[in-house]
């Protein structure tokens, strides 16, 4: 390992890193604009100049200079300070002085670094250049006069997002960052461009002129709009969620989040359930909590447990799920299901989590996607697979109808029959998987949430067996969920008990009048017309499908409004925190269930959040290890059987609208319109 001396302090650093990274290890701050940890090195802003000995007698760009043994690096000499001042002055030649009206103000790298390293007055009297603004779609607002040509956005679009649509045209003073042809970017990760931009050239369109960073309260939490469980920071002002930003977590989302995670939050302001409702004479009428509970008690008291059922939604926190489970148990009902889409998952933990972990993708050397389109199901995870592809030597195959995934994919076929052939070793791709040290088999809900899902799962199980993909040092079986609550629900055992009914069974029972009361815990993705004449209790936060059909509505809290534990698709237990309070009379979900249980005379044995969480751990030990991915128990799973010819379609037909929150979001519908416009143009 090379030994370097940074400002007189000797330090041993890993070989192959750059001078800038070495300085960071030494705790020395180097100003920079174009350099970014997760993008390729451009070396074009020249802000990171340092002096290096031995070396030429002029400052060097530290971001593009590899460290060498016995190198001496100086970051604070007069030459360096003068160089930084000079670079800063050049960068500001054409940068407008509009900080007071710029959305980046207060969190702007250029502003901060001009303060720290710049010259304290301007020597320019000439006019600044004017650059036409660009149209980059409904999420990214451009103000191209402010652009300093760091090219981070270009590199992000090309390297991470995998959409080569941004570039720099022209040269010298005429250089412009542009798509050249006016079009929105066709990526699900566009919002990250705004985070990357070190100046105010790319800012958030939905958030334009909404708030200043110093007015916002920041809460670290977890996303529930897809099953990845991206780590997020929720910025609120008063009761309102103003924006969502990514939080760094290399194990999960690195530092990216999807556009839905970031921009569906305006859905939290619309269509909210802010008070209880009871259906009287066919109409939903506003009610008090007491009246709502009374209506439920009137229906449920004396009703046999087998006639009561509960369906759990896709975004529920573990606390409310365990409360519902306990309540249903005390009512004597085995009819509980958390798999709204009917996914055939109820085996050991290893059969329903992404065992390899998101980090495992980096390690994989052959990937097979079965019935999944990760680009729409979890764009950030898809970017991770793309990253693996970019590193090379990783064949990626797909069985299903997945379209453009931003990386080339070997399309093996569409239906379960192809998987059968693959398992039998009849396809060339089998050998690629067999020869791989770390084969990764990703199974999506498109393969499992269907009639023959159990048979497809059995084939996948057979495949990992043949590939020896599950060993002590590697588990290459990975389920990519689409629902944030699903793994938590399965961990808590929210599946039909003995003699119980699953979702399909419940709906059938409703129509045959064998089920008389259904409790929907924020479950909106079922066909509510099939609920027949059953008495429907809906507890949730949005007036979506479930609430429209309900006989009693109990207003709950959305994920930003309650502390909650979520288990992501890897089986990682993460804690979401409360960023604000639910509107009106709405309450935290577990507390509603606790209150209801008392009214039904089946009081649940917990009064505080702490006690509920203790109960979680009692039900399943994995809940004790926060932020950890507890390994999944392995065993036989799936049910071998006949399959149909139907192609394995992705379970998410439309990325922008998958849940009550995103359906209520205007931004998401704008995105959808823009995307369909793009598709039409093609």
């Amino acid at each position: 390992m090379p030994k370097v001396k940074i400002d007189g302090v000797e330090l041993e650093v890993p070989a192959g890193i750059t001078v800038l990274q070495a300085c960071e290890l030494a705790g020395v701050e180097i100003p920079r604009f174009c350099y970014h940890d997760r993008l390729s090195i451009a070396g074009n802003c020249r802000m990171c100049l340092v002096e290096v000995k031995p070396g030429p007698p002029k400052p060097q760009a530290s971001c593009a200079l590899p460290v060498a043994d016995k190198q001496e690096i100086f970051t604070q000499t007069p030459t360096v300070q003068k160089a930084r001042k000079g670079v800063m002055e050049f960068l500001l030649i054409n940068h407008p002085l509009d900080c007071p009206i710029c959305d980046q103000g207060g969190e702007c790298d250029l502003q901060d670094q001009a303060m720290a390293y710049g010259f304290d007055r301007s020597r320019y009297h000439e006019n600044k250049r004017a650059v036409p603004d660009k149209e980059l779609g409904p999420l990214v607002k451009t103000s191209m006069n402010r652009c300093i040509h760091c090219t981070r956005c270009i590199r992000f679009a090309t390297e991470v997002a995998g959409v080569e649509q941004l570039g720099a045209t022209g040269r010298g003073e005429s250089m412009e960052v542009t798509t050249y042809v006016e079009q929105a970017l066709s990526t699900e990760l566009a919002g990250n461009l705004v985070d990357l931009c070190p100046v105010g050239a790319l800012t958030s369109k939905p958030y334009a002129f909404e708030a200043r960073p110093w007015e916002l309260t920041k809460t670290e939490s977890v996303d529930v709009l897809d099953a990845l469980g991206s780590n997020i920071r929720i910025d609120t002002r008063g009761a309102q969620v103003m924006r969502v930003l990514p939080r760094l977590n290399d194990d999960v989302n690195e530092e990216w989040i999807s556009d839905k995670t970031r921009h569906a939050i305006d859905g939290l302001r619309h269509q909210r359930l802010d008070r209880p409702y009871v259906r009287t004479k066919g109409k939903l009428v506003e009610a008090t909590w007491d009246q709502a509970f009374a209506a439920i008690a009137a229906k449920l008291t004396g009703l046999d447990g087998s006639k009561i059922a509960a369906i759990v939604g896709d975004q529920c926190d573990a606390e409310s799920m365990v409360a519902l489970k306990d309540l249903m148990a005390s009512l004597g009902s085995p009819n509980v299901d958390c798999r709204q889409d009917g996914a055939k998952l109820d085996g050991p933990r290893g059969s329903y989590i992404f065992n390899a972990g998101v980090r495992g993708i980096d390690q994989a050397d052959a990937i097979l996607l079965i019935g999944t389109n990760p680009r729409v199901e979890s764009p950030v995870l898809n970017a991770r697979i793309r990253k693996r592809y970019v590193h090379g030597k990783c064949p990626i195959g797909s069985i299903g109808t997945a379209e453009d995934l931003t990386y080339p994919v070997e399309r093996l076929g569409a239906g379960p029959a192809t998987l059968r052939e693959l398992v039998d070793g009849k396809l060339g791709f089998f050998d690629k998987l067999k020869n791989a040290k770390h084969p990764l088999i990703v199974v999506g809900m498109g393969a499992l949430a269907r009639e023959d899902g159990a048979a497809v799962l059995a084939m996948a199980y057979e495949l990992v067996g043949k590939l020896n993909a599950v060993r002590d040092d590697w588990n290459g079986f990975a389920v990519l969920h689409t629902a944030a609550a699903r793994v938590g629900g399965l961990d808590l055992g929210l599946v039909p008990g003995e003699g119980g009914r699953d979702v399909a069974g419940i709906l059938e029972g409703c129509q045959k009048k064998e089920i008389e009361a259904v409790f929907l815990l924020a479950a909106d993705e079922i066909d509510t017309t099939k609920l027949g004449k059953a008495f429907v209790i809906y507890q949730g936060h949005h007036g979506d499908a479930g609430a429209h059909r309900a006989d009693v509505i109990l207003p709950g809290a959305a994920y930003t409004e309650k502390p909650g534990i979520y288990v992501n698709t890897e089986g990682r237990v993460q804690v979401g925190r409360r960023a604000g309070y639910p509107p009106g009379d709405a309450r935290e979900d577990w507390a509603i269930l606790r209150a209801l249980s008392e009214r039904l005379g089946k009081t649940l044995p917990y009064d505080t959040l702490h006690q509920v969480r203790a109960r979680l751990v009692a039900v399943n030990k994995v809940f004790a290890a926060i932020d950890q991915q507890a390994p999944g128990a392995w065993g036989t799973f799936g049910k071998p059987g006949a399959t149909t010819d139907a192609p394995l379609k992705s379970a998410v037909p439309n990325f922008y609208m998958t849940c009550p929150i995103s359906r209520a979001s205007k931004t998401m519908s704008d995105c959808m319109a823009s995307r369909s416009h793009l598709m039409a143009a093609e």
């Binding site: 080569e164 649509q165 022209g170 542009t178």
Partner: protein
């Protein structure tokens, strides 16, 4: 400040572009210069061929080049807008690139420019002011399509333009009595024993 590059929306674009068989053969030859998978290296040469066929570079041509070389269109736009030799607007049959850098200017490029601007009609002739063409010893210089016309003044420039207008191809090079950059009126040194 003159915008060199940006694609102005007022440019009439052509609906489609494809290489003629003759040009396609040249394109394939250019691509063959590079190992397989590295065909993108031929982009400048192929763009030049497209420009020669069309007279300028419409967006359809850039898209076609991107398709042929398996590049993202934006990467081709970047290159085409970077080099001033790629013409992103329709040009006349003859593009008069008048050098106005110091040596040519000292030797009277203003008069040459005037003659050219007078002739420019957008169909037969288009004029472009360019920086040093590297022919300073024969200043002033005008590049007409691929040829240099040198040692010009207003009269000789007009003569060249008239000849072009008549469909003739005037002799390229110095328009005065000298061979390349040898002294005017014949050799002056190394004549004796």
């Amino acid at each position: 400040m003159a915008m060199i590059t940006a694609d102005p929306k007022d440019v009439p674009q052509v609906a489609s572009f494809s290489f003629t068989p003759e040009y396609m053969a040249k394109v394939e030859e250019q691509i063959a210069h590079y190992p397989p998978g590295r065909q993108a290296s031929a982009v400048i040469a192929v763009l030049d061929l497209a420009q020669r066929q069309q007279g300028w570079l419409p967006r359809a041509a850039m898209n076609e080049v991107a398709r042929l070389l398996e590049m993202a269109p934006i990467r081709v736009y970047e290159i085409a807008t970077f080099y001033t030799m790629f013409q992103l607007r329709p040009k006349g049959k003859y593009l008069l690139q008048v050098c106005t850098t110091t040596p040519c200017w000292l030797r009277g490029s203003e008069a040459v420019m005037k003659a050219c601007q007078h002739a420019a009609d957008g169909e037969t002739f288009s004029v472009q002011e360019v920086e040093c063409l590297g022919g300073c010893v024969n200043a002033p210089v005008v590049q007409i399509n691929d040829d240099f016309y040198e040692d010009l003044d207003e009269a000789s420039m007009n003569k060249v333009l008239d000849a072009l207008r008549r469909g003739e191809t005037p002799k390229a090079g110095p328009q005065v009595d000298r061979q390349t950059s040898a002294p005017q009126g014949g050799l002056t040194t190394l004549k004796g024993e």
